[in-house]
Subunit: 344 residues, 2 copies
């Protein structure tokens, strides 16, 4: 990849094709090991600890650089806690503990820091997850943009839950727990200071309560991922590539709020590429699809849940196809990654 | 503390008094829980994982913002791996896995990223620790200073090793595994572009091999901490405050390289306040002190190890006193934190 670029572009962090090239072309070969190579939302580890026994955990990390720091539906603190909890949740674990690391620009207002800490505290409490360790660094004015937050998380793997792309098979259904694009369109519209009639609101939320309910009540879930950077398009493409199977989704079944669609149309975005922060995509067996849908719909974060498509046989190469509202077909490509920098 | 300051100062990240105020005055009350309240180098957790059993782990996080990125003796990548390994090591655990999160400024040279990843890879390999999960974010040119790295770490607690300030008692010896001030003086002299006759070199190194040898061969270690930001002065003051016991150290016994002392004298720094990245301070029982010293001296990272002082009865308030080379006494204060921003 160094032949193509010699400097980091914003799109290298966009959750799309270019980020994938950076990770697979440079980072993964340098750090290669079997657990990392899975590139899951969390790493799955068996921790043997001398005479203490063994436990099976999920481990994840994410840095948050969202701009603006405060947005309709959340802030960088809520995002950091929910984002890390969601990575643990979709990997089939129950979040247990978090580490919080702050990089703060000199001159940042302490009352804003306090608001952010309040958010972190509230989300941690709601999710029954303690922030057990942390770090605070400061950098000179101009050396960072206000505040960056890193949260690492530890989850206890749920007994009997073993999600893997390898379990996905033809006929499996694709389930999403609600509307897409809410987070990304909220951020971009606040950044551009565009006011829409009905206000946009981020879907930023912790999914662990809902995912744990699903895992407890059905064993039909084969794989799960949260469609953050790169949106639904990136997640479906990853699932298709990694399972070597194709996917068909029906445009008419993908839940999108009218205000989100309007904002995307106006600004020239494809909602499929837009980040979500309170959504998961689950690949479920066809027999369990109705059960999964019912469990979701009883939960506040799943009331708009839908089966949006299914896994189909690959003809040539694994592809994601969208059946449009008027019955046409188009390929959903892996986004390039330039859509929205600093979305989370 | 909001009464005193309304904005973040560089010294809030300096590892001294002001950082302590920020953490204890603002962060800790917001996030309060028993594990975090210990403010250890790592959090000690018991992970119960359904039918998988239980294991006892250490969990830690650190962000690295060092400037310059490459310095004599290391770079930000080596520092990030060693720093997190050391936090796990001094908490009495064997490092097992790491999470790596990068925040990269648009325009950063990919060949520098590659050098940093090579360092990370080498240190991970040397320490038998896999980077099992990660995250990559990009921010616009000017929104960060080149690259910031966060490493979170997981360690398996060593059976029978239970370090705690509560175990420290009068008569215990203070051991350090080598010379102090090497890392900090290297960074500051490279930043100011001062050339000394004999070149300064950071002590950046992973301590886990040495600490594991100590824990395997003696049970006399009561407490351990790595004197990074804030230097030996901050670590001794933390130990004294948290144990409510006083400390006496002998200036003549504190190992300092002549070139480090010369650089500090020339630039007006007190070496006691200067950061180290390959040192630990251990509080050990007086009976085990010689054993500990012998184990250290057989290891490349402990050949200059010394007993530098002891725990003494508190008369009034817990204090750290330095017996100077000419037999005088002075109080070693908690540094304010302004000594050196972006040292690690």
């Amino acid at each position: 990849m160094t032949a193509k670029q010699d400097r980091i572009l914003l799109a290298h962090g966009g959750g799309g094709q270019l980020m994938d090239e950076l990770i697979r072309g440079l980072i993964l070969p340098k750090l290669k090991n079997d657990v990392l190579a899975e590139l899951g939302d969390s790493a799955k580890l068996n921790l043997a600890s001398g005479t203490y026994g063994t436990s099976s955990v999920c481990f994840t990390t994410d840095s948050y650089v969202v701009k603006p720091l405060f947005f309709n539906g959340g802030d960088i603190g809520k995002l950091a806690v929910c984002g890390t909890i969601n990575d643990l949740a979709v990997a089939g674990s129950k979040p247990v503990a978090m580490a919080l690391s702050l990089i703060i620009e000199e001159g940042f207002e302490i009352k804003l820091l306090e608001k952010i800490l309040d958010s972190i505290s509230e989300q941690a409490r709601l999710n029954n997850v303690d922030v057990v360790t942390g770090d605070t660094k400061t950098v000179e004015a101009g050396a960072a943009d206000k505040i960056f937050i890193n949260t690492a998380g530890l989850g206890a793997r749920l007994p009997g839950v073993d999600l893997a792309v390898g379990k996905i098979k033809v006929g499996d259904k694709i389930l999403i727990n609600g509307t897409i694009g809410d987070h990304g369109m909220t951020i971009i519209s606040q950044r551009k200071d565009i006011k829409f009639q009905s206000s946009l609101k981020s879907d930023c939320a912790s999914l662990a309560d809902l995912t744990c309910k699903l895992f407890e009540n059905t064993n039909g879930i084969h794989f799960m991922r949260d469609p953050t950077r790169g949106g639904l398009a990136a997640t479906l493409n990853e699932i298709s590539r990694d399972s070597a199977l194709s996917i068909e989704v029906r445009e008419a079944d993908i839940p999108i709020k009218a205000v989100v669609q309007a904002a995307a149309d106006m600004l020239g975005f494809d909602v499929l590429n837009i980040a979500n922060e309170g959504k998961f995509v689950a690949v479920v067996s066809s027999e369990s699809a109705d059960d999964c849908l019912n469990i979701c719909r009883k939960h506040p974060l799943g009331k708009d849940a839908k089966i949006i498509g299914e896994i189909v046989q690959t003809r040539d190469v694994p592809t994601v196809e969208l059946i449009t509202k008027i019955g046409g077909r188009r390929i959903v490509q892996m986004p390039y990654g330039r859509e929205l920098p600093r979305i989370c």
